[in-house]
């Protein structure tokens, strides 16, 4: 057990969880009750993977607290009309008036039934990036739990701004909601657009900096020279959205140019589906009795179930065997003495067309560079070597491939994630030291530990909680507006699944419903916290139009912004430095949070609330009380809805359910339960303890960074390379949809291939835009991309002056990044103002010239284009979000899009 030294005499302990790469620990210095300085928590240096540091965003919190543009009193809309051109006419009201108005609406919704005539929850909620708002919303999750069904399908960035295909396929294949190299041991990282130096948080930054210092080789494959590219040994400026071709060509090199013994053949045989025999219809050839997939045993020259003892399964070759084949739904075939090949043989044939020479033209990268990259991958794989971790000997494969946003989401995401994960398998580097690791689970359960989520599923693979596609169980009517249960089996149905469905569909259907889905309805009440979808999503104009039609919107509001411009009620909650909360820290978590400890950290208010701002837990309790849900709300807290279950073996700190409890009382009980949880019930220190020490942790085994031991111990395999299960599910899904008359999802059904084929992804984008807008794509000669910025990502801090000031030190923040030669062709110079137009929208900004970008590509960092948020609206910065149409044609089977569009550039003025 480790703990902090003591309460800082001049401040308070807190944490920063403004971005998904947190939480990290910090210290806030105060004087006369005024917080004035943020700094690292040096007391946590030994237990925190980044030595107790916090990044630049945390330093914006002082201004964030004192920002004169804050909303400091509840406000109520007076203008019933909504829209960008409407003045909301907000008037200050008392908390009683605001909460009573919300409670009245909620009670009415409850009286009308928790779901509406379409079966959708009457209450909806949208929260910001990656679940981080839960670290600031106190006990609000308990209120939502007490309420019942809540629709969280109105996206604010999910899908298009996240690592969507990686989330879904990653969880399926290796419990990897996100994927990370085992950076501390890795020798080579090939990074396709992963921008860890901007979005990896302090843990990611520190791990990679330490790795660079010891000489790691990182190759950054990306159309522009990002911060991460800058920190890499080599930059490969690939043509946008052609990463799948590059990866396929690497596969080709591994399978066609390298001797087989350079691959980890034992791993492929024992830990993957490579030896599974494939029957004529593409499904596994199975043992007729047990239904288990068959492999060809070289020892006995017979087909035997994959889990038979003393096997030497063949990876390649053609064998004559008999068995049954189980297709979609009730399809069954029986085969006698048919020629059959293992999945690995199919893989070899599958990648045959994808040579480096083939990829070179597509990617605009010399074939030699692709070959060299693949060869480096093999060189650093150390196939056959082992390493001991906490007393257990594991394979050591210090090489990994990272995928970034726009590479691992939208069309092509499946291809890239499959190829990357498969390559890790080929050298035995999946979930082993040095190799490619998952970070956490969000769709599988339990969520607190990846190892615990490893349970046996079909065919020797891990269980995965697919949304059903069988006739009897398929959700023809989803409980959410974006129909994730209906359309996306991989989205599963955990508390996180709604956020991982096709969240833009919820917005699209507000404009025009989809055939044969329930009639689209707006939510009766929409809660919004720490998100601004009118800025942060794609097709922001359409999103704003949709939300303008919502009858009753409640925004927990920091300043005025583009989303709460349409709100009916604004509630000022305590911001980061004013609110009280205890959260979990440690373990393994995205983006590169691999701790050797786990426990809890306190957010101790460093400042009294400004104005009439209230602690979120107080707001939640009041909402519960005024809507008659107090007992359920307290019960939810007791059951752990606020992060810690209040009772366990030998302890019970449950709150009496029938009465409201002030925030300090609630969090004291939670702190006590946390202490008990960490000590097996032996200790029960409360809030005072955490106020004094800031955090409390116990050891987290490093061995659990790696999933390999968990699979090995249960005799399970990684479900690669062959996606028999997905093929079956895809066929069943197609059948269900067609039975329901739904044909508009047919393009997406094509993704359910057992092994993905290359599709002309740049051409797919071009065609989709031409078809949707009847334009000539050649009139839009540039690809537009975006990239995260450490100063801004997820921070909700576009209105913070200090962040703006320091971000300007990094090139590209002031406008649209453009290659000088491309600019010269248009007669543009540094700082000139341009209009960037896509077929669907326009944005404006200043030209920022950099050599580190392809001449056919434009880059717009972050997400701007604000027109309401104070300070931010003065920045006049471009944003690609306004350029991105929400199109079904640009929606992949997982329900995600990608930040990518074609655009033209028109000069509109010389540099000021």
């Amino acid at each position: 057990m480790q703990q902090n030294a003591d309460t800082p005499s001049d401040g308070r302990w807190s944490y920063c969880y403004q971005c998904v790469a947190g939480p990290d620990l910090l210290k806030v210095k105060t004087r006369n009750g005024v917080p004035y300085q943020v700094g690292p928590n040096d007391e946590a240096a030994e237990i925190h993977p980044a030595g107790g540091k916090v990044c630049v965003k945390a330093f914006g919190l002082i201004q964030k607290t004192h920002n004169p543009n804050r909303i400091l009193t509840p406000m109520m809309r007076t203008n019933p009309k909504k829209g960008r051109d409407q003045d909301p006419g907000f008037r200050p009201v008392s908390w009683d008036e605001a909460l009573d108005a919300i409670a009245a609406r909620l009670k009415q919704a409850r009286a009308d039934g928790l779901t509406d005539e379409s079966g959708f929850p009457r209450v909806a909620a949208s929260f910001g990036g990656g679940g981080t708002p839960t670290a600031y919303m106190g006990t609000f999750p308990a209120f939502l739990a007490a309420w019942g069904p809540v629709d969280m399908s109105f996206g604010s960035g999910q899908g298009v701004k996240c690592y969507h295909s990686e989330h879904l396929y990653g969880e399926l294949w290796h419990r990897a909601f996100t994927v990370s190299p085992d950076t501390p041991l890795c020798e080579l990282v090939i990074s396709f657009g992963a921008n860890v130096e901007a979005s990896g948080g302090v843990c990611g930054i520190r791990r990679h900096a330490d790795a660079r210092a010891r000489g790691i080789r990182r190759i950054q494959v990306e159309p522009h020279l990002s911060v991460t590219g800058a920190c890499s040994a080599k930059w490969v400026p690939i043509r946008p959205k052609t990463d799948a071709a590059f990866l396929f060509a690497m596969l080709h090199h591994l399978l066609y140019s390298a001797p087989r013994e350079r691959l980890d053949l034992p791993f492929l045989k024992e830990m993957t589906s490579s030896p599974y025999l494939i029957a004529p219809n593409g499904f596994y050839l199975r043992d007729p009795d047990s239904g288990k997939p068959l492999v060809w045993d070289l020892k006995t020259a017979t087909a035997r179930p994959f889990d038979s003892p003393d096997l030497d399964p063949a990876l390649e070759g053609e064998f004559v065997a008999s068995g049954r084949e189980d297709g979609a739904d009730e399809q069954r075939w029986s085969h006698e003495n048919i020629p059959t090949r293992p999945a690995f043989s199919h893989l070899i044939a599958h990648v045959e067309p994808y040579s480096p020479v083939w990829a070179a033209e597509i990617c605009d990268v010399p074939a030699e560079d692709i070959r060299d990259t693949a060869e480096a991958f093999l060189d650093h794989a150390h196939v056959g070597e082992t390493i001991e971790i906490e007393g257990r000997r594991l394979p050591f494969r210090p090489v990994a491939i990272s995928l970034g946003k726009t590479v691992n989401n939208g069309w092509g995401g499946y291809e890239c994630v499959w190829a990357r994960t498969l390559m890790a398998c080929l050298i035995g580097g999946l979930e082993v030291p040095g190799g490619t690791l998952g970070t956490t689970v969000r769709l599988n359960r339990p969520a607190d530990n990846r190892w615990s989520s490893v349970t046996p599923g079909p065919d020797g693979f891990m269980f995965y909680p697919m949304n059903p596609t069988e006739k009897e169980t398929w959700h023809k009517r989803s409980t959410t507006r974006h129909a994730h249960q209906t359309l996306v089996p991989l989205a599963a149905n955990s508390p996180w699944s709604q956020a991982l469905g096709p969240t833009h569909l919820a917005w699209m259907m507000q404009k025009k419903g989809f055939d044969h889905l329930p009639k689209p309805t707006p939510p009766d009440v929409w809660f919004v916290y720490r998100t601004n979808p009118a800025i942060s999503f794609w097709d922001t104009g359409a999103v704003l139009d949709a939300m303008s039609n919502f009858p009753f919107t409640v925004c927990f509001a920091y300043t005025m912004d583009e989303t709460n411009h349409t709100a009916d009620i604004l509630l000022p909650e305590c911001t980061d430095l004013e609110g009280l909360q205890l959260i979990r820290i440690g373990g393994s978590k995205y983006v590169e949070q691999f701790w050797e400890y786990q426990g809890f950290a306190l957010r101790d208010p460093a400042s009294p609330p400004q104005g009439e701002a209230r602690d979120f837990s107080w707001i939640s309790t009041e909402l519960a009380r005024r809507t008659g849900l107090l007992e359920k709300y307290n019960a939810a807290i007791n059951k752990g809805a606020a992060g810690v279950r209040l009772f366990g073996e030998g302890y019970d700190f449950s709150l009496p359910p029938e009465q409201p409890h002030p925030p300090e009382e609630i969090w004291d009980a939670i702190c006590r339960a946390a202490s008990a949880e960490l000590t097996g019930g032996a200790q029960s220190q409360g809030l005072d303890y955490y106020r004094k020490h800031g955090f409390r942790v116990k050891k987290f085994p490093r061995l659990q960074w790696y999933l390999y031991p968990a699979l090995k111990d249960q005799g399970l395999r990684f479900e690669l390379p062959y996606q028999e299960r997905l093929m079956r599910i895809g066929q069943q899904l197609g059948a269900r949809l067609h039975e329901a008359g739904i044909t508009w999802w047919d393009r997406q059904l094509k993704e359910y291939e057992p092994m993905p084929h290359w599709q002309d992804l740049p051409g797919l984008w071009a065609q989709a835009l031409e078809d949707a807008f009847e334009v000539r794509i050649d009139d839009y000669p540039f690809w537009v991309l975006t990239a995260r910025s450490m100063q801004y990502s997820w921070g909700g801090n576009a209105g913070i002056q200090m962040i703006d000031e320091v971000a300007r030190n990094i090139a590209g923040h002031a406008g649209v990044v453009m290659n000088p030669k491309a600019a010269a062709r248009l007669g543009l110079r540094e700082g000139d103002l341009v209009e960037i137009a896509s077929p669907s929208g326009k944005t404006r900004g200043a030209v920022s010239l950099r050599q580190g970008i392809r001449p056919d590509t434009l880059l717009m960092l972050g997400q701007f284009d604000h027109w309401k948020t104070p300070y931010a609206k003065e920045l006049q910065r471009p944003s690609m979000n306004a350029l991105m149409p929400m199109l079904l044609a640009l929606t992949d089977a997982t329900g995600s899009g990608a930040d990518l569009v074609r655009a033209s550039v028109t000069p509109i003025g010389a540099a000021p």
Partner: protein, 529 residues
């Protein structure tokens, strides 16, 4: 002995600006003021491009140019190498900001609010009126170091005794310590890695070391930063116009130079004719006006007496001291009409204009000024302006008084002016050649060369023709004198303002990243020699 320094590992730095922000918190710097920041460099041409991030700030130099020029002794260097500013002494002349080749010094004259309007709570809490109107810069968080050491902590090891920027660095890129201690953290890093310092060739001995490649040994040679033309998108690192000195500073150089030259001309004229006291008075008034301009420029004008505190090193202090003697003797001469006193004042006038030249020369942050050839050029320009002005005054005096000063005197005057214009032109040529193509930022040279009516070319030839014509028509001497005066002023106006680009930033070597290799650096905005 202790010599504190920062080692910045460019392989580790990701340009996140956490150090920038931590510094702003620790030191409560005003919006837009960054004592520490991280630059973003890009080298090469697509697709062969590399990019690097370089933390900069006060380098706490071994030979700080800021300390040398400081007239008030507010800037000092501690025994441990830390360069400090005494806010209670500083007069806010901003000379140090100009002299610093690292753009590390700032002057804030009025409280600035991040969001305008009222000050936020933390801004009010941390108001420090002592820092208004004076120089400010990175102190290596000297108060953390001193308090930490007093508590028995070790700077660079214990967080509380370490500069906030270093302690905040999330990449472990910044290390602070004592380079005089061979076993210290920084000494070890320098011993085991290739490194450079910024603007090493300026001889300042900066105290921030940049690691760019590993484990090669510190004696391995590093290449000087090559100079390239037309860098794209590098505004933040290109040489910039200095904005610390404006027309008020120019006023000192043009009035001071012309006034001093005028008094010298008047004194010399007194040797061959009755002294022209109106010229003497004008010379005194001009120098006084110039100093008045400076008084208007400084941030703490009522501390002006502190300007005399540093005659041992600062040419600004020396200029002020010389001005005292100049006014005393010149004033007495004018009051008493004593030629001897006037002749005694003349050397001080010369010394004054010489001091002005040395003020420019000592500003190592401005490439156009720090050339040694600028000293004779500025001196002779002052003398030429004085002679030209004297010719104008003499002709006006003659016209007003109806006295013919005579051909002989015309001859002396015209000859003197002719010689000075020729000499000035020659010195301009010498100076300009010394700058060559690479001795200053490209933009500075362009501005200098394009300045109309300056010292080059046709303008000076016309002056010489007009001077020669004085033997036919005396009025042309007046016109020539006026032109000699105005072209000198025009040149100095350009030199002090529009062409006064600073050094800019440079990176001597692009760092090796991980297993990558280091590469040539860049000095953006400079042209190859």
């Amino acid at each position: 002995m202790t010599r504190y320094a920062i080692v910045a590992d460019l392989n580790r730095c990701v340009g996140c600006q956490t150090c920038t922000s931590a510094c702003k918190h620790q030191n409560a710097t005003a919006p837009g003021i960054q004592w520490r920041k991280v630059l973003d460099f890009e080298v090469g041409e697509f697709p062969e491009v590399s990019r690097a991030f370089v933390p900069v700030g006060c380098m706490h130099c071994d030979e700080p140019p800021c300390l040398e020029v400081c007239p008030s002794t507010a800037t000092r260097k501690r025994a441990d190498g830390i360069v400090t500013i005494d806010y209670d002494i500083c007069i806010g002349c901003a000379y140090c900001a100009i002299a610093c080749p690292y753009q590390a010094r700032f002057r804030v004259d009025a409280p600035a609010n991040a969001y305008g309007g009222e000050r936020m709570r933390h801004e009010r809490l941390r108001d420090d009126p002592a820092r208004l109107g004076v120089a400010q810069k990175c102190t290596f968080c000297v108060e953390r170091i001193d308090a930490g050491m007093a508590a028995g902590l070790v700077p660079g090891i214990d967080p509380e005794a370490t500069p906030a920027c270093v302690n905040s660095c999330i990449a472990g890129a910044l290390t602070f310590g004592d380079i005089e201690d061979a076993d210290s953290n920084v000494s070890t890093l320098l011993r085991e890695n290739r490194h450079f310092r910024m603007h090493e060739d300026l001889g300042t001995g900066p105290g921030i070391y940049y690691l760019y490649d590993g484990e090669i040994g510190q004696t391995a040679p590093i290449e000087p930063a090559p100079m390239v033309a037309e860098p794209a998108g590098m505004a933040a690192v290109l040489p910039r116009l200095q904005h610390s000195w404006d027309w008020r500073a120019v006023g000192n150089f043009i009035f001071g130079g012309a006034g001093s030259g005028l008094l010298i001309a008047a004194a010399l004229y007194g040797l061959i004719a009755p002294p022209m006291w109106s010229a003497v008075f004008l010379g005194l008034a001009l120098v006084g006006a110039g100093l008045g301009c400076v008084w208007l420029e400084i941030g703490r004008p009522w501390r002006f007496l502190n300007v005399f505190r540093h005659p041992a090193q600062s040419w600004m202090s020396r200029e002020a001291g010389i001005a005292l003697a100049y006014f005393a003797l010149g004033g007495l001469a004018w009051l008493t009409g004593a030629l001897a006193l006037l002749l005694l004042a003349a050397p001080f006038a010369f010394a004054f204009v010489y001091a002005q030249a040395r003020i420019l020369r000592a500003a190592r942050g401005i490439p156009l000024w720090r050339q040694k050839q600028i000293v004779p050029l500025i001196v002779v320009t002052g003398l030429t302006e004085g002679a030209g002005l004297f010719a104008v005054v003499a002709l006006i005096d003659q016209a007003l008084a109806g006295v013919d000063i005579g051909l002989l005197h015309h001859g002396w005057l015209a000859g003197g002016l002719f010689a000075l214009v020729v000499l000035r032109f020659a010195l301009w040529q010498v100076y300009r050649r010394a700058l060559g193509h690479g001795g200053a930022p490209k933009a500075a040279l362009a501005e200098l060369d394009e300045t109309p009516l300056a010292l080059a070319g046709l303008g000076q030839a016309i002056i010489l023709v007009l001077v020669s014509a004085a033997f036919l028509t005396p009025a042309s001497l007046g016109v020539a004198g006026a032109l000699a005066l105005l072209t000198g002023w025009r040149f100095k106006f350009a030199l002090v303002t529009r062409a006064a680009f600073n050094q800019g930033y440079e990176i001597a070597r692009m760092p090796a990243r991980g297993a990558g290799v280091s590469g040539p650096g860049i000095r953006p905005g400079w042209v190859a020699e």
